[in-house]
Amino acid sequence: MKCVTLFREDDHCWQAFGQDPDKPDNVVDTNQYVIRSGSAAILLDPGGMEVFPSMLAALTREISVDDIKALFLSHQDPDIGSSLPLWRRVCKPDVKIYLSWLWAGFTAHFDRDAVFTTIPDEGMEVSLSHDVKLRFIPAHYLHSSGNFNVYDPKARILFSGDMGAALVPADKTNGSMFVSDFAGHIQYMDGFHRRWLGSTRARDAWVAQVSKLDIHMLAPQHGLVFKGDDVKRFIDWIAGLDIGSGVASMNR
């Protein structure tokens, strides 16, 4: 599994893990992120159980599992957190698990013994270390009804979950984890956003919310990371996209 450092300043660091070449073809590709500050780390969307072995192997090249103080699950999907019981087996028993209050009882189906720190709808702020604070910002209905992004104002990175997600065919990747040609990248995210997102009101609220943030990188859970001007390009693109395409298949 590939590991790319997105940001590093002293002991504050963001790393992205994904594009696992050993992943079975029928398992959708996911990105996992780790944010570190000192000896504390938080793992964002640790992934499905199928990617757990390679993710664990890739992560432990970078940090010790003992440094993982928290796991963050943006929402309830299996590709986000079905590996939860496996991570809890290798992490320290007091590892915190952040998840929307909406999904605690549902995600317990993956791991009945997990104790969740639930995130209220408005979101919350957590301190990774004395000078690195992370904001869990709401992204409800995009696509999950209880959904959060993570914003790091110091690194100016927004982990955007399924916003900005792309399904890039393996033979179309160029080895980079970054979008290099925004116009050419649209084809890989267009269908995903049209079909997976359902609420225009939620999309508009999200666009208004993230437009106020200073974002250098927008890091989705699938596909490639946007940086620099591509972040604004993405926000402008999603703001005008016709979403909820599944509705067309009803009442025909």
Partner: protein
């Protein structure tokens, strides 16, 4: 009519098609988990077969209860000639109560066994994932803490699995005891049916009625026997597999401890 919504690009559709296919892991398990998994699947299959064999037990018990009530009415109509049959039907009622009790215990046992099965299957899945992780971190490039964490997790799952297999073996033992309980009911019901047939021979005008009771009871006894035959084979196999799995689990634990 269901139509496919046309999406903007073929690649996206191709990926979605791939995602909607039945998920079968492209990676194979390794030998250690393979052996345990194959035997565990066999054990769970035998347990399912044994419970399935007893599936109609409640219906048979109810039929036997109704028969005993009808026999008691017939015995009442026969007056003094029905005295012995009346006593026999009361005894039949006790056997029916015993069957109902066994059935209740078996339902509890079935729930427990299926809960254990679910724990075993979950444990096996986790074990195979950790086994893969073991292979990946044991490459000389990871520090010792990574391998130690994975080994510790693997060992915890193996401990849990061995404990659950122990519980499963006890459940199979309990199931064998319940099957033996049904066997005793069968044998006693058979004797009652014989005795009612003997009483019928001396019952004069009531002979036909008592003989019908006796024949119907024999019919139920035969059905119970069939149940026992089917279940006994499955219970015996489950018992053997449970023991062999437990040994395999203990051996694996021993190996893990030797390697630590």
């Amino acid at each position: 009519m269901i139509c496919r919504v046309s999406l903007s690009n073929a690649d996206f559709e191709g990926l979605v098609t791939a995602m909607s296919q039945v998920s079968i892991s492209a990676r194979s398990h390794t030998q250690r988990t393979d052996r345990i998994e194959a035997r565990a699947n066999g054990l769970l299959g035998d347990c399912r077969r044994a419970f399935h064999a007893f599936g109609d037990l409640d219906e048979l018990a109810e039929n036997l209860r109704i028969l005993s009530l009808n026999a008691e009415l017939a015995a009442g109509r026969a007056g003094d000639k029905g005295r012995a049959v009346r006593a026999l039907t009361q005894y039949t009622r006790e056997l029916v109560n015993r069957l109902a009790q066994i059935q209740g215990e078996m339902n509890t046992l079935r729930r427990r066994t299926f809960a254990l099965s679910s724990t075993i299957l979950r444990g096996l899945l986790q074990m195979s994932l950790f086994e893969r992780a073991c292979g990946l971190v044991d490459d000389g490039e990871h520090d010792a803490t990574a391998k130690a964490a994975v080994d510790r997790a693997f060992s915890q799952i193996m401990h849990m699995l061995v404990e659950t297999l122990d519980d499963m073996a006890n459940s199979v033992g309990d199931l064998a005891r319940r099957a033996h309980g049904v066997e005793e009911v069968v044998s006693q019901s058979d004797s009652i049916a014989t005795n009612i047939a003997i009483e019928a021979a001396a019952a004069g005008v009531h002979e036909k009625e008592f003989r019908t009771v006796s024949d119907t009871m024999r019919h139920y006894v035969d059905d119970l026997r069939k149940m026992i035959d089917e279940a006994s084979d499955a219970v015996r196999r489950a018992s053997e597999k449970g023991e062999s799995l437990r040994r395999l689990g203990l051996d694996s634990l021993g190996d893990l401890e030797d390697n630590c």
